[in-house]
C-alpha cells in the first residue's frame, strides 16, 4: 500500500488540476491548475522509474551489482519540467498583458472573442 502512495498522490494532483481548470475563473488560477496537472504527470513519471532499494543511476558511484532506479524517466521528467517552465511563463506573460488591457483577470469579464 505504502508503495502506491506516489501514484495516489499524482492522481490527487491531476484531479485537483482538472477541478481548478473547470471551476476557477481567475486566469492565474487556471495557470496554477495546468501546473498541478503537470506536477502530477511528472511525479507519475518519476515514480514509475523507482526500483525498491535502488541506487542513483550513476555508473561510477554505484556499488557493484546494486539495482539502479531507471534513468530514462528522470531524463524525461527533467525535459518535461523545462517545457513546463516555458509554457507557464508564456501563459503568465499573456495573463499580464490581458490584465493591462482589461484591468481584470476574471475569465468571464475579459471575453471579447465569441462565436
Amino acid at each position: 500500500m505504502i508503495g502506491n502512495l506516489p501514484f495516489v498522490a499524482c492522481m490527487v494532483l491531476i484531479a485537483l488540476g482538472f477541478w481548478t481548470l473547470l471551476f476557477k475563473r481567475n486566469l492565474v488560477k487556471l495557470v496554477i491548475g495546468v501546473g498541478l496537472i503537470e506536477s502530477g504527470v511528472n511525479l507519475f513519471l518519476v515514480a514509475l522509474g523507482y526500483v525498491r532499494g535502488g541506487v542513483p543511476p550513476i555508473y561510477t558511484y554505484a556499488p557493484a551489482g546494486a539495482p539502479m532506479v531507471l534513468p530514462t524517466p528522470q531524463a524525461l521528467t527533467l525535459t518535461s519540467i523545462v517545457i513546463g517552465l516555458a509554457t507557464t511563463a508564456l501563459m503568465l506573460a499573456f495573463a499580464v498583458v490581458i490584465y493591462r488591457h482589461k484591468g481584470t483577470l476574471d475569465a468571464r469579464k475579459i471575453r471579447e472573442l465569441r462565436g
Binding site: 525535459t79 516555458a86 471579447e112
Partner: protein
Amino acid sequence: MSAHIPILAIAVPLLGGFAVPLLAKLHKGLRDAWALLVVLFVGACVGYVAVHVFTQGLWVYVLGARHPQETLAPGGFPIRIMLVVDGMSAFMGVIAGLLALVAFPFALRFLPEEEGKSLALTLGLLLLAGILGMAYTGDLFNFFVFLEVTSIAACALIGFRTWTSRAPEAAFKTMLLYSLSGLLFLLAVAFLYGEYGALNLAYLARELRGTFVDRLALGLFLAALLMKAAAAPVHFWAPDAYGEVPAAKALLLVVNTQVSLYGLWRVLFTLYGGLWDAGVGWLVVALGLLTMVVAAFMALVQTDLGRLVAYGAVSQIGYMMLGVGVGLVSLAGRPEYGLVALKGGVFHMLNDALTVGLLFLCVGAVEWTKGTRDLRELGGLGHGLPEVALCFLLAGLALAGLPPLNGFASKILIYQGSFRLSPILTAVAVLASILLLAVFARAFQGAFLGPKAEVPNRVPGVFLLSMAVLAVGLLVLGLVPGFFLEGVVTPAAEALWRGRALYLAAVLGG
C-alpha cells in the same frame, strides 16, 4: 552529407530561427535573405526525403549511433532516439515545406518592421522545425517534445500583437488547450512506458497487447491529439487563434493542426494497428461529422473574414477525420473501400493545406490593402483587387468541393468510401459542403462585389506570386489528380494501411 538530410530538415530551421534576430542587428536585408535561404533549404530537404522515401522505401535515421542506420543497441533493444520517415511522414513533410515556401516570402513583405518582424520570423521557423520534428520522429517522447515546441511557438505567434486586446486573449485560451493536450499526451506516453519500458514507437507497436492500460493510453492519445487538431467539441480555440495570428503565419497553424492529425493516424494505425475495436473508428467518424457540421454552421454567422475562413479550415479537419475514420472502421474487416476513403482523407490533407492557405493569403491581402477584415465594412474590392478576388473565389469553391478543383478530387473519394459504409455519412458530408458553399458565396459577395471601393494601396507582387503558386496548385490537383494520387497519396495511405509491418521491420530488423 545526404545521409543526414532528415535531421538537417529539423535542425537547420531550429538553429537558423535563433540566428534571425542576430542577423537583424547587422542588416535587415541580410536577415530576410537568411530566412528565405533557411526555408528554401528545408523545402529542398523535405523534397529530397520525399523522393527518396517514395522511390526506395522507409528512411530510418538514428541519432547518437556510430552510423545513422544502427537502430538497435547491443542487446537488440532500440534505445536511441530515431527519425523514421515512411510514406505518410514524407507526405506530411512535403505539405509543411510547401506551405512554408509560400508563407515566408509573403510574411517578409506582410509583417511591419516596427511590429517585431525579426521575432515573428524566428517563431515561424521554430514552428516549422517543430512540425517537421513531429512528422519525422519515430519516438513517442520525442514527439511530445516537438508537440510542445510547436505549441509554444504557435501561441507566441498568436499572442504576438500584444498591443491589441484580442490577441493575448486568443493566445491564452489556445495555450491552455495546448498545454493540456501536451500533458495528456505525456501521461499516455508514461502509461506505455510504465507497462513496456520503452519509448520507441515501433518497439511499443510490437509489444502492445491491448490491456486496460493500453486502452486508457489510447483514449488519452485521442483526446490530446484531437484537441490540438481543433476537432469538435474542442475546436473553439482555433477561430480565435487563426483570427488573431498575422495572416501570413496562419498557414503554419493550419499545418500544425494537420500534423497533430498525422500524429493521431500514426498512433492509431502504426502504434495500435489492429488492436482497437471498430468503436474507435466510429468515434473518429462521429467527431469528424460533428466538426464539419458545427464549423460550417458557425462559419455562416461570422462577420470577420478571418474568423469565417478559420471556421472553414476547422470544417475541413472534419473531412479528413471522416475519410480516415471510415478507413479505420473498415480496416478490421479489410474491405477495399476503406482504402478509398483513407486515400481521400490523406489526399484531403494536401488539398486543405493549399486551399485554406490560399484563403488566408487572400485575407492577408485584403487586410493589407484595407486595414480591416470586417465584412460589414468591406465591399466592392473586386474592382480594385481582381487577382485577389479571383483567388478567393477559386479557393472558396475548392473548399466547398466543387469540380474541377482539388477539393472535389479528394472529397469524391471520401464520399465513395463512406457511402459504402453508410449513406448517412455521405449525406451529412455533402450537406456540410453545401453550407460551406453558401458561406463562401456570401463572403465573396460581401467583400468583393458591390459598388466600386477605393483601394488605398496596391497588392505587392510577392503576395500575388505566393497566391498564384497556390492557385495553380488548386487547379493542377483538381484537373489531373490521378498523377498525384498514384505518385504521392497512394504510397502515403498504404504506409498507414499495410505499411505497419514494414515500419516495424525497418526499426527492429527481421
